[in-house]
């Protein structure tokens, strides 16, 4: 996918008087898939700043661009136009190697499908990202133990994923996503395969991460009950942000008054 923007700014331009480095920042981001009559505009000019330590839900109907937004925020895809900054760095300016390093060091992912490696123990699954970064095995294991303890799994860590329940496996996936002090954790419908009580526990765990680690957590969900745990909900429709609980487009405001 090509990017058709010009003259990239070296640093994100300041908007809305915001100061400091955002965990993730989008400037007028457009994302198109396909071409000609098959072209689909997944995002149509999205600007969004997510602060370190913020817990944000992205909601909207199917096909509104929620998952695309998450993929761009994680440097997994390129914007067609506009700029995406992760931990203060312009993703479009980064080499493939730098981008891979960004994904390993700054961004953690938790998906609906449990992507744990079945042949590794819980502890090995969590320490793997650190070991890939060159952290000595002993130190990596120690940090992995801490991350597992933070998600409430401090025993049986030498068992394999299949020995754990679905909720516990998702906890392991979260531990893997937070190990190594990442700036941002991206969670795409992380409770899809879990029952209600287990799902609540997983979301509650995510809700505690910003305060505990300063990680920004971005949760894509269609469930209001999970969104209610967050600090902020951003609503997408047809690839655009239509409302944001942090900056509501409500009655009585210049942009969205009903008079």
């Amino acid at each position: 996918m090509t990017t058709d923007h010009t003259t990239p700014p070296a640093a994100p331009p300041a908007i809305d008087g915001a100061t400091g480095t955002a965990a993730v920042e989008f400037f007028d981001v457009v994302k198109r898939f396909g071409a000609g009559s098959n072209e689909v505009r997944a995002l149509s000019g999205v600007s969004l700043r997510i602060e370190p330590g913020e817990f944000v839900a992205i909601m909207g109907p199917s096909g509104c661009g929620k998952s695309t937004l998450l993929h761009l925020a994680g440097g997994m895809e390129d914007a067609t136009a506009g700029r995406v900054y992760v931990a203060g760095r312009d993703v479009a300016d980064m080499s493939i190697t730098d981008r891979a390093a960004l994904r390993r060091r700054e961004v953690g992912y938790v998906f609906q499908r449990l992507n744990l490696l079945a042949s590794l123990t819980a502890l090995e699954n969590v320490s793997l990202p650190l070991e890939l970064e060159g952290v000595a095995a002993k130190q990596a294991r120690a940090r992995a133990r801490d991350a597992l303890a933070a998600v409430g799994l401090d025993h049986r860590v030498d068992r394999y994923p299949d020995d754990f329940s679905g909720g516990q496996q998702q906890r392991i996936a979260i531990a893997r996503a937070i190990v190594g002090e990442r700036s941002v954790l991206l969670a795409d419908e992380p409770t899809g395969s879990l029952d209600t009580v287990t799902s609540d526990a997983v979301i509650e765990l995510l809700a505690g991460l910003p305060a505990q680690f300063g990680t920004a957590v971005v949760l894509v969900t269609h469930e209001p009950r999970f969104a209610s745990w967050t600090d902020r909900v951003v609503f997408l429709r047809d690839g655009r942000i239509v409302d944001d609980t942090a900056h509501p487009v409500g009655a009585g405001t210049a942009s969205g008054g009903f008079r």
Partner: protein, 193 residues
């Protein structure tokens, strides 16, 4: 209000005095249903008048001035009927929401979508506030958790309905959308449903 039946349910566990009923009622309802002690005694007086509770003699440690109340056989029967009865069919609390959206659609789909979006944001903000309040209170009792869950479930029903409205509006044929509010455009929209 089901305070009467709530008190009967507590008394079914054994005799209690008035203040004890107040604190137990509040604990059982997760703190969302505060009672003043006067209300408790007024209710107990009515229950006594109706023969559903009776005043027992003063028991052991309680102060001499405190009356102890006990459920009667008729009280047990009334409580049994309450467990069986379906809660009275009050109008849904957000009937106004439905009216608002239906009226907004009459004014035009763009307006309706903005109203839906705004109402959804407000509802979610209320849910977030409720969660925050509960977490700040540090009340992890089952009652508190279930009360929050009940409020969340009701708001979810409203939010899902708003989603459904939005989907229907988005899927309407182009000729049916963004129409000015005139008699003829209204009839066109209705005919296309």
């Amino acid at each position: 209000m089901a305070v009467r039946e709530g008190l009967l349910a507590l008394l079914h566990e054994g005799p209690r005095y008035g203040y004890q009923l107040k604190t137990e009622f509040e604990a059982a309802t997760g703190g969302v249903w505060p009672l003043n002690v006067g209300q408790v005694y007024t209710t107990l007086d009515r229950l006594e008048r109706d023969g559903l509770v009776e005043v027992r003699g003063v028991e052991g440690e309680t102060a001499p001035s405190q009356k102890t109340y006990a459920i009667t056989v008729d009280g047990v029967a009334a409580l049994g009927e309450w467990w069986e009865a379906v809660p009275s069919d009050d109008p849904p609390p957000r009937d106004e929401l439905m009216l608002k959206v239906l009226m907004a659609i009459e004014r035009g789909d763009d307006h309706a979508l903005r109203v839906i979006t705004h109402q959804r944001t407000v509802l979610l903000t209320l849910l977030q506030a409720r969660r925050k309040e509960r977490r700040a209170a540090g009340d992890e009792s089952l009652a508190a958790r279930l009360v929050t869950d009940a409020l969340v479930a009701r708001a979810e029903a409203d939010l899902r309905w708003l989603d459904t409205c939005e989907e229907h509006l988005q899927r309407r044929p182009a000729s049916a959308t963004s129409a000015p509010t005139t008699a003829s455009s209204t009839s066109t929209r209705k005919a296309s449903r």
